[in-house]
Amino acid sequence: MRSKLRMPDLSTTGEDVTIVKCLAEVGQAIKRGDSIIEIETDKAVMEVECAMSGTLVEYLAKPGEKVALGAFFAVLEVPTS
């Protein structure tokens, strides 16, 4: 099943965050808790933990691009249990 990951509410003022680095490769297996991207918020640069386990299908934003909080930033293929 395809699942999209939303940008967590990690900024302190509701500001959009900027993608700094994509930390996984397309096709790579990711576990819940692994870092999937690095972002810059209004306050700090930080890694974002992936909220589910699966295989990375694609990133929906590139480094340098801004993403709104709650917007989708990646697609995962998640095994159905």
Partner: protein, 337 residues
């Protein structure tokens, strides 16, 4: 940066022995710590998924402090807590469901969905809804201690706060009042070395918090806060002294936060070596290895505890997501001013 070596001495002391304890009691302590860890981890992912609103302040790594202290008091004794209060609430006996409901803002939550993460509490279970103002619970605990003493109820107030609260004016006011009137209050400082992102040696000349007690004329003690039995034993003694009219007592529990101050804090200020050293002193892993050495507790017992806890938490999330939310009619209820 100083190593704060005099503070870490008690961490190198051998583990409190499990020999004199009942198997069921020890398993209960372990279960409560695992429950707190799993609850916090699951809540973290609910936040990261965007399912749960707001920010959260979590206590992964500090489970032994909450569990060891709360195991030493009765249901009708009271605790005060802070914005980092989920662990205190679970240790004091609040239910998983009433807490998960509260986090989802449901009217079935322990504060009818009006408190949220930073104000967990249930007066029927001996927990004043948590106070998010740093040091805010300290004068309040002194007040409760005064009430218990005047009414001769035999109850004790236990006040949890962090190292960041020690330099607040409210600390002096509340602690001094408890001291002059010998109030039954156990002041529990969870010293996790950082007040938000500020390391204690930047804001304290004397970083041994328990030393503060002697200047007020009562007993203070520094304890390995990642050893649940050491915490339990120190708290038991402190509570006994308070019930005998020899309070208050200041316990400093040395511990470490495994996460940022809040979910929005990447925690870059914790140095790698320091972090590694403390992660090796993880309270749950230490408790597990002490239990496994006894001979009457096996790895399968501990695994079963972990599984049951996870199942219970998952069930609570399903219910909380569809629980009734407060309506506009609830806006003016439970309001006192």
């Amino acid at each position: 940066m100083s190593s704060l070596s005099d503070n870490s001495t008690s961490s190198s002391v051998a583990e409190a022995s499990t020999e004199s304890y009942d198997r069921e009691f020890l398993l209960d302590l372990y279960t409560r710590m695992v429950l707190i860890r799993e609850f916090e981890e699951r809540v973290k992912f609910l936040f990261l998924e965007g399912t749960m609103p707001g920010t959260i302040h979590q206590c992964q790594g500090q489970e032994a402090a909450a569990v060891g202290v709360c195991a030493a008091i009765n249901q009708n004794d009271f605790i005060t807590s802070t914005f980092r209060g989920h662990g205190h609430a679970l240790a004091k006996g609040l239910g998983i469901q009433e807490m998960m409901d509260e986090l989802f803002g449901a009217s079935t939550g322990c504060c009818k969905g009006k408190g949220g993460s930073m104000h967990m509490g249930n007066m029927d279970k001996g927990m004043v809804p948590a106070i998010a103002i740093v040091a805010g619970g300290i004068p309040l605990a002194a007040g409760m201690g005064l009430a218990f003493k005047m009414q001769k109820t035999g109850q004790v107030a236990v006040c949890f706060f962090g190292d960041g609260a020690v330099a607040e004016g409210a600390f002096h006011e509340g602690v001094n009042m408890a001291a002059i009137w010998n109030l039954p209050v156990v002041f529990v400082c969870e010293n996790n070395l950082y007040g938000a992102s500020t390391r204690i040696d930047k804001v304290m000349k004397n970083t041994r918090v328990s030393d503060r007690a002697s200047s007020y004329g009562f007993r203070g003690q520094t304890v390995d806060g990642n050893d649940v039995l050491a915490v339990f034993e120190a708290a038991t003694r402190a509570v006994r002294e308070c019930r005998e009219g020899q309070g208050p007592v200041l316990l400093e529990l040395l511990t470490y936060r495994r996460t940022g101050h809040s979910r929005r804090d990447p925690c870059h200020y914790q140095e790698k070596d320091e972090k590694k050293g403390w992660f090796e002193k993880d309270p749950i892993e230490r408790c597990a290895s002490a239990l496994l050495q006894r001979g009457d507790i096996g790895r399968e017992d501990l695994e079963a505890i972990g599984k049951n806890v996870v199942t219970e938490i998952e069930g609570s999330i399903v219910k909380a997501q569809t629980a009734l939310q407060p309506t506009a009619d609830d806006l003016l209820t439970d309001v006192y001013a």
